[in-house]
Amino acid sequence: MSATQSKPISIRSITKTYQTQSGEPVEALKPTALEIGAGEFVVVVGPSGCGKSTLLNMLAGFGEPSSGEARVSDVRITGPDIDRGMVFQSYALFPWRDVIGNVEFGLEQKGIPKRGRREIALKYLHMVGLQDFANKEVDELSGGMKQRVAIARAFATEPSIIFMDEPFGALDALTRRFLQRELLHIWQEHKKTIVFVTHSVPEAIYLGDRIVVMTARPGRIKTIINVDLPHPRDATSDTFRDIERAIYAQLDAELAKSFALEGREIAVAAAD
């Protein structure tokens, strides 16, 4: 496998404020700063609506920060780029293309000639164990297989960074476990920088070098936890459990806050 350079990300106190339809500003992300090393696997966890997807979307270049900036190898992120891949929770495969056609999509954009494209696409389908499904239609695949195609598609263009937005969130527990292991193998082999968003705490500990715990809305970084356990990590070990307990303790406080907030909103709405 050709070794493309993975790159570091520098997030410099970025914020995001949305405008609701009635014109009210909603603060989705409070000033957030984070340095992510080249080849590092960072997992972001937090309650729903904590701005973790907002953060990821800005890093992917889908929305400008309201203030601050994020840089990749000291180049400011201003829009989407083929050097920063993404895996989406809903797979986002192109249904008008077959499996290999999906993996080839980014290679076409890179201007790789037809024969080379096929070869590379097959190599990456092989990586996720789907080489025999190259000519299947996307609709014929199960959810887990679709996500494996999406992972192959994201890695095939050899980006230096890959963002993953709750990629296993829609899958059953066993498929999820299997894909987590597969992703770790791929990451260890390719050493891309990965930023992975989830709300599964065990998943975060199983995968991440570092775990970024976010606060309830408006989101900001509450704490960062280093996971120094060697791979593959045993989810039943004491250290794993200790880390899990620590993160849940942090999250429970945030969940309580966000439920209280929601309750207040419902009460206000009812009073109106």
Binding site: A60, G61, F62, G79, P80, D81, I82, R84, G85, M86, F88, S90, A92, L93, F94, P95, W96, F105, G106, E108, Q109, K110, D139, R153, A154, T157
Partner: protein, 255 residues
Amino acid sequence: MSSLLKTLSRVVPLLVAIAVIVIVWQLIVVIFKPHPSLLPSVVLPAQEFWHLLASGELLDHTSVSLARVFSAWLLAGSIAIPLGLAMGWSRRFENIVDPFVELFRPISPLAWIPLAILWFGIGETGKVFVVFVATFFPTLISTVAGVKRIDPVLIHAGQVLGCTSDAMLLRKVVFPAALPAIVVGLRISFGTGWAAIIAAELVAARSGLGYLIANGMEILRADKVVVGMAMIGILGVCFDAFFRFLSRRFAWGTT
């Protein structure tokens, strides 16, 4: 085998309907005995059908009508599809163009026939113009709706996979994603165009199925009128079936 059964299950009800129509028609003729120039017995149009078919007249009229519809339909599609893609893609562009669409759309294409005759006479251009109006809007509306229904996550996927310009995104993601809706629009507009060409030919033409019908009326030959109507119906059913078949091939993202 199952596809044969499926075809049969579609064709048989159609044949039954035709049989019922013929029986009811013949009963009316037997009971009320209308003058043959108003409602002939089933036999007369059937004879006239074979007569017109054998002489080649029926095929001539049919192909003339079809050629008019096809050329106008293709012309309308080649403008409406790119315009619809742009309108669905850019809110600002849609805001500019949509008022024009909203003003013209409620005007029946048939209301354009008098102007078409004034402007273009009774030649081909006027017919093509009327069918163009009839096919343009269904295609446009369907295309715009198709683009707006695209899951934004597909657009994002296209962007991170290297479609950095709007032109590239439109070609590689937006157009294929909207294609099922576009095909539906083309199917519907072929139907409206087929209806419009008959009307245009009824009013002013020297050929075409509409002319065949209008001429039959003028010379008090209801059998000729019925032959023309039957041909319109048969072709309408055939083309609709063909486009349904096509739209199943382009049905991604609709399940």
